[in-house]
C-alpha cells in the first residue's frame, strides 16, 4: 500500500461520514456542511489516485478537474445557503418540512 491509497481511503471515509450526517441531521446548515465534507472526500480520492503514475509528476488532468470542482462547490454552497435563509425567513425553521403523508 502506498501513500496514494492511504489518502484515497481517507477520502472514502470522509465521503461516508458526510453521507451519514446528510441523512441523519435535519438542520439545513448541517446538511450543507455534510455535502462539503462529502465533496472533499471525492476530491481526495481523485487526486490520490492521480498519484499512481510512478513518476514524480502526478497526472495533471484530475488535478485540473478538482480545481474546477472546488470552485463549483463554493458557488453551489453559496446558492444553498441563500435558499436556506429564504426558507427560514418564510417558515421560521432551518429545516425541510416533514412529509405530511398523502
Amino acid at each position: 500500500m502506498s501513500a496514494a491509497f492511504l489518502f484515497a481511503l481517507v477520502g472514502v471515509g470522509l465521503f461516508s461520514l458526510g453521507l451519514y450526517a446528510l441523512i441523519v441531521h435535519a438542520h439545513l446548515l448541517r446538511k450543507i456542511l455534510a455535502i462539503n465534507v462529502m465533496g472533499s472526500g471525492v476530491f481526495l480520492v481523485l487526486v490520490a489516485l492521480a498519484k499512481r503514475t510512478g513518476e514524480s509528476q502526478p497526472d495533471a488532468v484530475p488535478h485540473a478537474l478538482v480545481i474546477t470542482g472546488i470552485v463549483v462547490a463554493v458557488s453551489a454552497t453559496a446558492l444553498a445557503l441563500t435558499l436556506m435563509l429564504k426558507l427560514t425567513a418564510e417558515t421560521g425553521r432551518a429545516e425541510l418540512p416533514e412529509d405530511q403523508g398523502k
Binding site: L14, N36, V45, V71, V74
Partner: protein
C-alpha cells in the same frame, strides 16, 4: 533514507487520522458555530493533504476557496440565520440542533459502513500503477503555450471545462440575486483594527492575485487561485463596510461579471473562424492568448465570489432586469 520514509508515513497517517477526526467533529459538534470554525480548520488540513499528494495548485485553491471563502460564506449565513430566527422569535431552534445530535442512528450507520467498505474495497482493488493521461499531457505540453501542466489542462487542453465552470459561477450568482438573498448586516463603524487591516491587506491581496495569475504559466498558480485571492480582497472590503458606489453597481459591475465567459466564447468563435477547432489556439500565440483569457477569468471569478458573499443584488440607480 529509511528514517525519512518512516517520518513520511507517520506524517501521512497522522494527517489522514486528523482529517477523519476533524470531519467527524464538523458533523457532530453540538454547536453550529463550532462546527463552522472546525470546517475552516478542516479545509486548512485538506490543503496540507494536497501538498503531500504533490498537488500545490489544488492546495492554493483549497486554502483560498475551500477554507477561506466557504468559511466566510458559512459564517455570514450563520449570522443572518440568527437574525432571521430572532425575528421569528423561535428560541430553542439551536437548542433543538443540540438534542438531535445525541441520538446515534443505527440504520443509517450500518448502511454507511457497508457503503464505506464497498468503496474502500473498490479503491484498493484498482491497479497500483496507472499513468492516466499524464503521458499525453507531457507530450503536448510544449505546444500548449505554458509549462505548468495543470494550467495547460485548465486553459488549453480542456478549456471548455473552464468556460462551463465560469458559467456555473455566473448561474449561482444569478440564482442568489433572483431569490434576493438577505443583505449582509452593514457594520456602522468597522473599528480601528479591521479598518487599518483592510487598508493594509487589500493592496497586498491584489498584488498577490496578479502574481498568482502571472506565475501560473510555469509554476503553481493560475486564474482560479488568483480569482479566489481577489474575491478575498472583496470580502475584506465588504466586511469593513465598503460598498460599490451606485453608478458602478449597474452596467460596469455586470460587464466585469461576464468578462470571463464572454472572453472564452469570443476566443472560441475566433479560433473556429480562423480554421481551428473550438478553443484550439494558434501555437505561436498560445501563451499570450491564455494570459489574456486568464486575466478576464480572474476578474470575473473574483468579482463573482465577492458578490456571492454580499448576497443581495447591489443597488443602482437604473434597474436592470
Amino acid at each position: 533514507m529509511e528514517a525519512l520514509t518512516l517520518l513520511h508515513w507517520t506524517f501521512d497517517i497522522l494527517l489522514g487520522l486528523g482529517l477523519l477526526w476533524l470531519g467527524w467533529r464538523v458533523l457532530t459538534s453540538p454547536d453550529l458555530f463550532n462546527a463552522i470554525v472546525l470546517f475552516v480548520a478542516f479545509g486548512l488540513l485538506m490543503a496540507l493533504a494536497w501538498v503531500r499528494l504533490d498537488a500545490p495548485d489544488i492546495a492554493l485553491a483549497e486554502a483560498a476557496i475551500g477554507a477561506g471563502l466557504t468559511g466566510a460564506l458559512l459564517l455570514a449565513a450563520f449570522a443572518k440565520l440568527r437574525t432571521v430566527e430572532k425575528n421569528h422569535d423561535i428560541a430553542g431552534q439551536l437548542e433543538k440542533g443540540k438534542l438531535e445530535n445525541r441520538s446515534f442512528q443505527w440504520w443509517p450507520a450500518t448502511f454507511l459502513l457497508v457503503v464505506a467498505a464497498g468503496l474502500g474495497h473498490t479503491v484498493l482493488s484498482l491497479p497500483h500503477y496507472a499513468t492516466g493521461l499524464s503521458a499525453e499531457v507531457s507530450a503536448n505540453l510544449k505546444s500548449s503555450g505554458v509549462s505548468n501542466p495543470v494550467t495547460a489542462v485548465l486553459l488549453n487542453f480542456r478549456g471548455y471545462d473552464t468556460l462551463l465552470e465560469m458559467v456555473v459561477l455566473l448561474l449561482a450568482l444569478l440564482g442568489v440575486w433572483s431569490i434576493s438573498g438577505s443583505a449582509l448586516p452593514r457594520e456602522a463603524a468597522p473599528g480601528p483594527i479591521l479598518d487599518t487591516l483592510s487598508r493594509l491587506l487589500t493592496p497586498v491581496l491584489i498584488l498577490v492575485a496578479a502574481y498568482l495569475l502571472w506565475v501560473g504559466a510555469h509554476a503553481p498558480g493560475g486564474a482560479f487561485q488568483a480569482g479566489a485571492v481577489l474575491g478575498a480582497a472583496g470580502v475584506l472590503l465588504l466586511l469593513s463596510g465598503w460598498r460599490l458606489s451606485s453608478h458602478l453597481a449597474g452596467l460596469p459591475l455586470r460587464i466585469i461579471l461576464v468578462a470571463g465567459p464572454v472572453a472564452f466564447v469570443a476566443m472560441a468563435v475566433f479560433t473556429m473562424l480562423t480554421g481551428g477547432q473550438f478553443l484550439e489556439y494558434p501555437r505561436a500565440e498560445a501563451g499570450t492568448l491564455i494570459l489574456f483569457l486568464e486575466t478576464a477569468a480572474t476578474l470575473s471569478i473574483g468579482t463573482t465570489l465577492a458578490a456571492l458573499f454580499l448576497g443581495e443584488r447591489p443597488k443602482n440607480k437604473r434597474e436592470y432586469p
